[in-house]
Symmetry: C2
Subunit: 422 residues, 2 copies
């Protein structure tokens, strides 16, 4: 058992309480104020004096392409088509499993610095990606990125069986890259498989205006309408981006219980637009936050995403009261977990997974303590993340990593990989 | 002398070179690759092994109200008028010099964590503010925040004489709060004083659409046109915000050589809008970056401002290539110094002030090293600031502060101050 004491606990998006927290194995065993007797009866492998710091649920990064770290700062300040076709695609074609293994480890280091313990990742060479996560003690949900024609359905069922159950840290969801890269036949096959397995499907959706316009030209339907019409949304799942939605799209998303994963930094940097988050929240649609991949962001920083989520709504709606901090903090923690289907990683409660972070309040950007939740959203930074724990294991503490790998070796490998490709 | 070696130096916004840097007193004494003989002849009080890290010019925060730290997270998610009239103004009325002294020190701690060595500050109780800065070894330019009628001109000349020359770290500029809080008679008197002293004038300008509309209703002129018509812009200076500018305003700003200080986070959070930065840059207008005060941001983080500066232009113009990283980095360093009139703090050159920072590249968000300047703008964070030096003195290093005050006492005072006011 590990004991966290002498601090505060964020027990909901806006409630801070002076409590202890004990973990047992990968779970939260106790949250509360122990009686002297209860405390005396317990032995702990480690006791962590929080010194007034805050324990809170870890952040969940609900959309990313982790291994794209190699393209960080390699293709910025370019028009979207040039970025994608002249830079990203040709470099991705040179990747292999071994490279993805190291590039994923680089991303995991960064996730830990920003208090992320689980990511919803969409990429390829999943064996190597999963190996990197499991070796590091890092949690992930895989979303398949399949594209092309219906023959590729075979892979999805194989991967579904292979990755689900391969580790307590790993879950695999049916998915596909996007409407514009998948033939209709493939979408229909995925819908059938989803029905047969009784499971959710996730994908990129309505990221750009062009994508929506061309889908309407082709099918007479928006991407959301098309997905619904072929039966892809019957078991829920998550849509990444959702920048350009019609009123009918929003109704479908609400009625099907789809989660919307907002990726504000990526949507700005690629000039895609600003998603109608307040409108979605007002409808009661579940919201999560994602960084998207490092080629389009370029960092993997949940604090940046949180500030953007609220501030972009404020400026777009001309209303400084729009999208309050509580909504943002909820999306970045509980919402992210649920959008990924991680029902036991969402909040701080006894019996849930011990996916936690410690926020150092003894730093200038966190003072004075007028409102701790608002401090986190409006002035918080990676610098405040003192400790990141995933499944009961400390993976990051005081700037040091505990992921069974030397960070310097990871940096060296990442540089070698990109230099070998240039 | 202090020697920085075994690292890289950012010698312009996009050039990184493997050089050493030596400081002597408050100045940069040498930048280059020393001959063995030159090195042997020199004795150093300290030699700092950069271990591959990057030395770069420090950031300059060209618009802020430092002492407003007490209102951080005290008045968020509120409509603008309620924020200002029900929360900010009543609390500010309870401030005094002693409180401003401590609240300024809190801001200085935060500036140092984000690599800022100088701020262009507009607030009141300047004696206490200046005391806090000078005791801390921190550089500042004061911009007066006078408002009301022409009688107040007397104070400005007094303060101009008093603060200019009081310390090598302090400079005082003529200024006033804004068009909407100053009578025309006061503006005319400031113009005359500026003429007599041959000196620059700075102010808030065109932050909100309402401010511009009401000025046009009152004077038949935009604020920029009004300022120019009374002769306020004849010796340059800086305009803070500039969100809502006409084509003619832009011409005036260009012709008068006024600096524009962009405050993107504050403009989003208060729902003011997005300044036309690319248009201003295309005209050759000088650009700087500011955080604005902590009540409207809420943090004092230049990395956040840099990412917003570029990404908001990209999304507004629908062009992922807009506002490239070099332009942003230049505004955050050189531009900020020049907007404040600090001609000797702008770049890394021999003879300039030693206002420097060290960026730790051995962190996951800085790897791989495809492009260091783009890494700083797109994925940099306060976490990467390893050392902050102002006027040749190390004020912050590895998370520790060297400002002649215990940070814990500053936090305690800040909490006591706000709690005594509630």
């Amino acid at each position: 058992m590990i004991r966290f004491f002498n601090g505060r606990v964020l027990t909901s998006a806006e409630t801070v309480e002076e409590k202890e927290l004990w973990t047992d194995g990968d779970k939260i065993a106790f949250v509360g104020v122990p009686t002297p007797q209860k405390l005396a009866e317990q032995t702990f492998e480690r006791e962590i004096d929080l010194g007034g710091s805050l324990l809170m649920p870890s952040f969940k990064n609900a959309h990313t392409h982790s291994a794209m770290t190699f393209l960080r700062s390699y293709a910025d300040d370019l028009p979207l088509r040039e970025w994608l076709f002249d830079r990203v695609f040709p470099m991705e074609a040179k990747l292999d499993g071994e490279k993805i293994y190291w590039l994923t480890k680089l991303a995991i280091l960064e996730y830990l610095t920003t208090g992320v313990t689980a990511v919803y990742d969409m990429y390829f060479e999943m064996d190597y990606y999963v190996k990197a996560c499991v070796e590091s003690g890092f949690r992930t949900v895989l979303c398949d990125a399949v594209s092309g024609n219906k023959k590729r359905i075979v892979e999805l069922e194989e991967k579904y069986e292979k990755f689900n159950g391969c580790s307590p840290l790993v879950k695999y969801d049916l998915g596909f890259h996007a409407e514009y890269t998948a033939e209709l036949g493939l979408l229909e096959e995925i819908a059938k498989l989803s029905e047969r397995l009784g499971t959710r499907v996730s994908t990129h959706n309505s990221e750009t205006e062009k994508e929506v316009r061309e889908c309407i030209e082709k099918y007479g339907k928006t991407p959301t309408e098309l997905f619904d019409s072929v039966g892809l949304l019957n078991h829920g799942g998550a849509f990444y981006h959702c920048v350009h939605l019609s009123e009918n799209d929003i109704e479908i998303i609400k009625n099907r219980g789809m989660w919307v994963v907002h990726c504000p930094a990526s949507n700005l940097k690629l000039a895609s637009g600003i998603a109608p988050i307040v409108k979605l929240a007002d409808k009661g649609i579940g919201l999560a936050l994602g960084t998207d991949g490092p080629a389009s962001n370029n960092c993997l920083d949940m604090f940046r995403e949180m500030f953007l989520m609220t501030s972009l709504q404020k400026v777009t709606l001309g209303d400084a009261s729009a999208c309050p901090a509580g909504l943002v903090l909820d999306a970045a923690t509980r919402g992210g977990a649920l959008a990924m289907g991680l029902d036991d990683c969402d909040t701080i409660e006894e019996g849930k997974q011990a996916d936690l972070i410690v926020i150092d309040l003894d730093q200038p950007n966190m003072q004075p303590l007028n409102n701790i939740a608002k401090n986190i959203v409006y002035s918080g930074s990676k610098q405040n993340v003192k400790l990141t724990m995933c499944a009961g294991k400390v993976l990051y503490e005081d700037g040091k990593f505990f992921i069974n790998e030397d960070p310097k070796l990871i940096y060296k490998k990442a540089n070698e990989i990109i230099n070998s490709m240039k």
